[in-house]
């Protein structure tokens, strides 16, 4: 196995390469699941529970079935519904409007059960039970510790204690979940907006109890998932069953409300934190009691103590169930929550100690990469301009903040790819990965062309189909480190084969041939071009299937971000003015899309810290802001200047970049706000109402 070439020897990897599917996307030619049209296609809709908790006594679909244009109805999908938006029944009809109208005609009898939608209430004695047999609605309970926390606090000169609270955030992909199902004989073809064509194939086959090789999942272009689309959900199965029953293809795309209720969210988090340090800034102890809700799902834990060195620490956590849709992984599960609380607490402690927050971090962060990143970032950002918290006067006050993150992001050793070289010189690669919007099409093509010393236009990447060799679902920042080494190795194997064939054809040894830039130099016989060489294949294509191997990728990233905010003291509005990110991810495969990835992470952080908040009405369990007017994601006018620096560790090979940039800024923004207004807001999102009340509170004393 050859290592990655030297940086200055590469022409497509570690360069700024524009997306090969860019033109398709901006012209509208790229087919997203939403765009798929099949002959005779019907439209599916799901009837969803209006109650947060109920037993489904009966579902009468007769009137819906009688409606003209309705082609299939599924009644009574579940016996018990656990949240508003849970599946009850489904229809397929010749138009979406008729399908929608048919849902109105389905008569459901419920036995309404007690429910709870506030995690702080759900964990109390006697609260309504989301699931029977889980007292106080406690799901997973976790306790971890190291050292002796009491001793650590005894050694501390300064201690702070606060509760930090993050509300539920939603993934909000531009393209909601949805699929198109078409049966061809016994085989099911499913165009799905998924982050994993293979994981979806497996999940669908299991649910429908059919052989995996009869399920074919296709995702050529998809409009975002952020972790919510890693595996199939009930809509996939409902759509497949509707299509079977109707004997026609069915498209079932979720609308925005369904997207917000039923297919994933980022868990809330309450972290009661006590933290101590010595006068000289050495951290001594950390203690946390936390809880959070993942709705009817699990996974609200946070990886505390995050980032910094605590010789003594103790944490305990409870997942609390409420009657809300199950959480799904979301861009660095648990990490942004941990980051917000930890970075806030670090700044509070630094303030109390009278130490500069960055100095305090440098002192307590053992990671050597981040040590360098802090310095690079501080320089670029102008950290030296940070003023004492609350010292600003006037209508607008500014503040600076910093935060850090870490992630794994290694490759999956089971990833496989096939590279084909055809007798006419055509080249392709087949790999069952998918491009979830981050530029996977482009890096697959770039790595293949780089290895074969061809141009981008000479190679054809083939991804997004479950009939291609296995690759992992795009989650956990694993795609680039899984896919790029595998494609490189397969290309290398195919090139070797090609050299063997050419050598035989021209009567030389393979190692005597010099290859470079589409030219084969054959001793004594001069130069031949790529096409001429491939003609030696004599009708039979080379097809090399190769599995991922160690050596071209790594796992483990550090990273930090700096934020400058401006707070309008008359309105409480926080505007992020600038963000500086310093991030390592080993060998950056595409400098352009990598930068987009970091920008996107920071946009998500702005949404999380300043805008987004999934609400549930206390008395009805209904989400009142299940739309993009009231569930506020930041828009173009909320964007600051982004400055991205990649900390060069290319010798480590490729490391994933999906989650790392979506972590550090959350705490950085919160700290910048506290620095600006001289008061800390302990609950995200930091909205104008909270800022105004905090400013009013400060004035009063």
């Amino acid at each position: 196995m050859a290592p990655w070439k030297k940086l200055d020897e590469m022409s497509l990897v570690h360069k700024e390469v524009t997306r090969i599917d860019g033109a398709l996307k901006v012209t509208g030619a790229a087919q997203y699941t939403y765009d798929i049209q099949r002959p005779g296609m019907l439209y599916g809709r799901i009837l969803r529970s209006v109650h947060p908790h109920a037993r489904v006594l009966s579902v009468d679909t007769s009137k819906a079935e009688a409606l003209s244009g309705v082609r299939a109805v599924l009644g009574a999908i579940k016996d018990e519904v656990n949240f508003v938006g849970d599946d009850v029944a489904a229809v397929a009809a010749v138009s979406e409007e008729i399908a929608q109208e048919a849902l109105r005609l389905i008569e459901v009898q419920y036995e309404v059960l007690p429910f709870t939608v506030r995690e702080s209430e759900a964990k109390k004695e006697g609260a309504p039970q989301v699931f029977s047999g889980r007292p106080n609605n406690i799901g997973n309970h976790d306790e971890r510790s190291e050292g002796e926390v009491e001793k650590g606090f005894a050694e501390a000169d300064v201690i702070i204690e606060h509760t930090y609270h993050l509300n539920v955030q939603l993934h909000t992909p531009l393209e909601p979940h949805g699929c198109v199902c078409e049966w061809r004989g016994e085989d099911l073809y499913m165009w799905d907006s998924t982050q994993g064509v293979h994981s979806t194939r497996g999940g669908v086959a299991r649910a429908l109890e059919m052989p995996e090789n009869q399920v074919h999942v296709i995702t050529h272009h998809m409009g975002g998932g952020f972790g919510s689309k890693l595996s199939p959900k009930s809509y996939n199965i409902i759509c497949a069953r509707l299509a079977k029953k109707a004997g026609a293809p069915v498209k079932l795309m979720l609308d925005r409300e369904e997207e917000m209720l039923a297919v994933g969210n980022r868990p809330s988090s309450w972290q009661k934190i006590k933290m101590g340090a010595k006068k000289d800034g050495t951290l001594t102890a950390f203690q946390m009691e936390s809880f959070g809700t993942a709705g009817i799902g699990g996974g609200a834990g946070v990886p505390q103590p995050y980032i910094y060195n605590f010789p003594n620490w103790k944490v305990s956590h409870d997942d609390v169930h409420i009657n809300a849709g199950a959480a799904a992984p979301m861009r660095a599960p648990g990490h942004p929550q941990a980051n917000f609380a930890m970075e806030s607490a670090m700044d509070e402690l630094a303030d109390k100690l009278g130490i500069d927050p960055l100095e305090f971090r440098l002192k307590n962060d053992a990671n050597s990469t981040r040590q360098q990143e802090y310095k690079i970032g501080a320089e670029k950002f102008g950290w030296g301009n940070r003023k004492q918290s609350g010292s600003g006067t006037g209508l607008k006050v500014t503040g600076l903040g910093v935060g850090s993150g870490r992630w794994g992001g290694g490759g999956n050793n089971r990833t496989e790819a096939i590279v084909n070289i055809y007798p006419d010189g055509a080249v392709d690669v087949k790999i069952g990965t998918q491009d979830i919007g981050v530029g996977t099409w482009t890096i697959v093509a770039a790595v293949l062309a780089e290895e074969l010393e061809l141009e981008l236009v000479d190679v054809k990447p083939m991804i997004g189909e479950s009939d291609f060799p296995w690759a992992p679902a795009s989650g956990g920042s694993t795609t680039a480190p899984s896919v790029t080494p595998t494609v490189k190795l397969a290309a290398e194997a195919a090139k070797k084969k090609l050299l063997e064939v050419v050598a035989e054809e021209y009567g030389v040894k393979p190692e005597e041939i010099r290859y470079g830039k589409k030219k084969f130099t054959i001793p004594g016989q001069g130069e031949i071009g790529w096409k001429t060489a491939c003609a030696a294949l004599n009708g039979k294509a080379i097809s090399e299937k190769v599995q991922w191997a160690e050596g071209l990728s790594s796992s483990g990233t550090a990273g930090c971000q700096f934020a400058e905010v401006e707070v309008d003291t008359e309105t409480g509005r926080v505007q992020v003015k600038r963000m500086v990110a310093v991030q390592d991810c080993g060998l950056v495969v595409n400098l352009l899309t990598a930068r987009s990835q970091v920008n996107g992470g920071m946009i998500g952080e702005i949404g999380y810290s300043l805008f987004e908040n999934r609400l549930l009405d206390h008395d009805t369990g209904i989400m009142p802001n299940a739309d993009l007017e009231n569930y506020k994601i930041p828009g173009a006018l909320e964007m600051p200047d982004f400055d991205v620096t990649f900390y060069d560790e290319h010798e480590r090979g490729v490391i994933g970049l999906g989650e790392p940039p979506a972590i550090p800024g959350v705490g950085a923004i919160a700290n910048a706000v506290a620095n600006a207004i001289g008061a800390r807001i302990y609950e995200l999102p930091i909205t104008p109402d909270k800022v105004l009340m905090a400013l009013a509170g400060r004035k009063e004393g």
Partner: protein, 324 residues
């Protein structure tokens, strides 16, 4: 969406009859609000009356009496019109509506007759008081964006940006119904829920807004609109304020102040007007005037901040008005 009859009236005069005869009619101009309500199912009309083809609703004219704008005029056209520039505060208010896309589609009449944004009202899942149910979900629910004054039994805020400015400029609204035309002061056009919890204005079932008249006296006033939104890219006002006054040296006269985002109707701040009439708008005096105005405010659990915001925005609006 329920099937409906789509009617193209031949002229304005024929609209009242269509409205009166239909069981549930819906006026459709820009459609930016109407379509959303139909999709959500909170409006299920039998008849949709298309006003887009009534070109005589889409004029912008000015003469010595004042500025007349047809209800069908597009917001984008108002912003671009030379005639409207004589009332800068009015143009500011129109510019602050929605987004470029919405202003390209939305009409003046539609903006003035839009329905509330209360999320309980907007979601078909809640059968709230305003929709004929028996509860207001906002009183004890999520009420951060609701009103702080003039509520009971319904706590919406009226969402139009243009409405407060029309009140500040002493505009009038022309309405046509079966009985003919009538002209109503903008100040009297919108109603509080105590008067009618199901409607936001005085329009009868057979009536539609046909034009808005801003008197020539407005040209002699300085006017300014300050809208605060949580998200600049697209948002309704959290609180907004329209101010108009004559500047006599440093003193304000003929002061008119109307708020958006604080009450179920555009809220004319009469007490604040009185406190500021003939005065120099010092910061203390403006804050005191606003405090008088909102002394009787009854914020809900989550919107006490609006009292602070309302005071601060008046301060900002008058500061900027005087400086302009």
């Amino acid at each position: 969406m329920k099937p409906f009859e789509y009617v193209n009236p031949k002229d304005i005069k024929s609209v009242p009859k269509i409205l009166a005869e239909a069981e549930r009619a819906l006026l459709f101009a820009g459609g930016t609000d109407a379509l959303a309500r139909m999709k959500e199912g909170i409006d299920r009309p039998d008849v949709v009356v298309n006003l887009k083809k009534l070109t005589d609703l889409a004029f912008i004219k000015s003469d010595r009496k004042g500025l007349r704008i047809g209800a069908g005029a597009l917001l984008a056209d108002i912003i671009a019109s030379k005639d409207a520039q004589a009332c800068p505060g009015f143009v500011e208010a129109v510019k602050s509506v929605g987004t470029i896309q919405l202003r390209n589609m939305g009409t003046l009449g539609g903006n003035l007759c839009q329905r509330p944004r209360c999320w309980y009202y907007r979601s078909a899942r809640f059968d709230c008081l305003r929709k004929g149910g028996d509860t207001c979900f906002a009183i004890y629910g999520d009420n951060k964006y609701h009103c702080i004054i003039g509520g009971d039994p319904c706590y919406i805020v009226y969402p139009s940006d243009i409405a407060p400015m029309l009140i500040a400029l002493r505009a009038e609204i022309e309405v046509v119904g079966l009985k003919g035309k009538r002209r109503v002061k903008a100040d009297d056009f919108w109603v509080l829920p105590a008067q009618d919890p199901y409607k936001e204005n005085i329009l009868q079932n057979d009536e539609l807004v046909t034009q808005v008249f801003i008197p020539a006296s407005a040209r002699a006033l300085k006017s300014h609109y300050v809208k605060f939104r949580e998200r600049d890219s697209f948002d309704f006002a959290m609180v907004s304020v329209a101010v108009a006054a004559r500047l006599d040296g440093e003193r304000l006269t003929d002061v008119r102040i109307a708020y958006g985002g604080v009450a179920p109707k555009p809220w004319r701040a009469v007490k604040a007007e009185r406190a500021l009439e003939g005065q120099v708008a010092t910061e203390e005096r403006v804050l005191a005037a606003a405090a008088t105005e909102f002394a009787n405010a009854e914020p809900l659990e989550q919107n006490e901040y609006k009292v602070i915001l309302a005071k601060n925005l008046l301060k900002r609006a008058l500061r900027e008005l005087v400086a302009a």
